[in-house]
Symmetry: C2
């Protein structure tokens, strides 16, 4: 058992990072059903009471690890042109979902742990974080005059992501670079036609 005395700043962050990494590694190797605080603690090289001090159960640990991971796994491009920016973004999304970690995360979020309210909330937050981080891609394109003024960044980014999620969650079709490039063509056509401005815009 560890004492409850305050620890120097830095150690907490290191434990947190190690436990998050161990959680994802366990998820990838063994799946959601077999995920346990004991195994995560062992893999992270910490005592399980250290884990329980920060996370009340495996569900909150999982939600926290997933949120942190997916909030930062898609780099935000700045190539100077909307078409190449969107292509990089859509391809990163496809790559993230088709990686072993991405597959394990999807399986946990949409199958094994889909019944947990925390997971539904994590799905919303993760998506919202990604939208917020990618918003400059759209605002820069509007400033450069590549897209109609008033184009709604959130609508554009949802249009970009929607066909990828449909394939992942409904049709179970494979997704690849062509899936990414096609959703870019669809999204750009919609944006240039003005369909991605708020409805009240003339």
């Amino acid at each position: 058992m560890e004492s409850d005395r305050p620890r120097p700043i830095g150690r907490g962050a290191k434990v947190r990072t190690a436990v998050h990494a161990a959680t994802l590694a366990e998820l990838v190797d063994k799946g959601y059903a077999a995920l346990s605080v004991e195994n995560v603690a062992q893999r992270a090289g910490v005592h399980k009471t250290t884990v329980y001090r920060r996370w009340k159960d495996r569900e909150s640990l999982l939600t926290d690890a997933l949120t942190e991971h997916v909030a930062t796994d898609i780099p935000i491009p700045d190539t100077g042109a909307i078409e190449t920016d969107l292509r990089a973004l859509a391809r990163s999304l496809v790559q993230s979902f088709t990686s072993p970690a991405g597959q394990a995360i999807l399986a946990a979020m949409f199958t094994g742990a889909a019944h947990l309210p925390e997971i539904a909330s994590a799905r919303r937050h993760v998506f919202h974080d990604r939208l917020t981080r990618a918003t400059p891609v759209v605002t820069r394109a509007v400033e450069r005059g590549e897209l109609p003024s008033g184009t709604d960044p959130a609508e554009l980014l949802k249009t970009l992501a929607a066909p990828i999620y449909l394939r992942l969650l409904i049709t179970a079709e494979p997704i690849d670079e062509e899936t990414a490039d096609r959703t870019v063509r669809i999204t750009l056509a919609a944006a240039r036609s003005g369909a991605l401005r708020p409805p009240q815009t003339p």
Copy 2:
């Protein structure tokens, strides 16, 4: 207990319809977790052995009832113009998902029963059936010269449905007629630009 003698044709279909209706009614009233063959049989006015003779467990009963229900709940419009056809289709989809039955079905398919392989398969089949039934909407528009020759009906219909599913399954935003009308504008802009033809089409 009922005997195993053959029964006149017609009775089986009636039992099937009654049991499907009872399954959906139980799902709407009580949710997936509380769904039981006993309750379904009682509601349908049949003995539970009658149910077990046709369906091996509540999962196969549920999958069968859902597949039958959602394969026919969206009427296929033929208004003579692609814009009004797609608007009717998208609005029907939104209405279906926002009805009490639609909400209960979504909760079962994507939350309560999401871990069942039969349900993943049912999601694919249901979507594929809807696509197939709606395909004439697109082929007629191409024949009328409203959309570019070579427009892929499946791609168009997936583009139409994707933003609705994204809101239902990821962002948890409300969906309404404006959601439907917006995805029609996006889809038409993409189709008219040629982005919904197969990639090899020049």
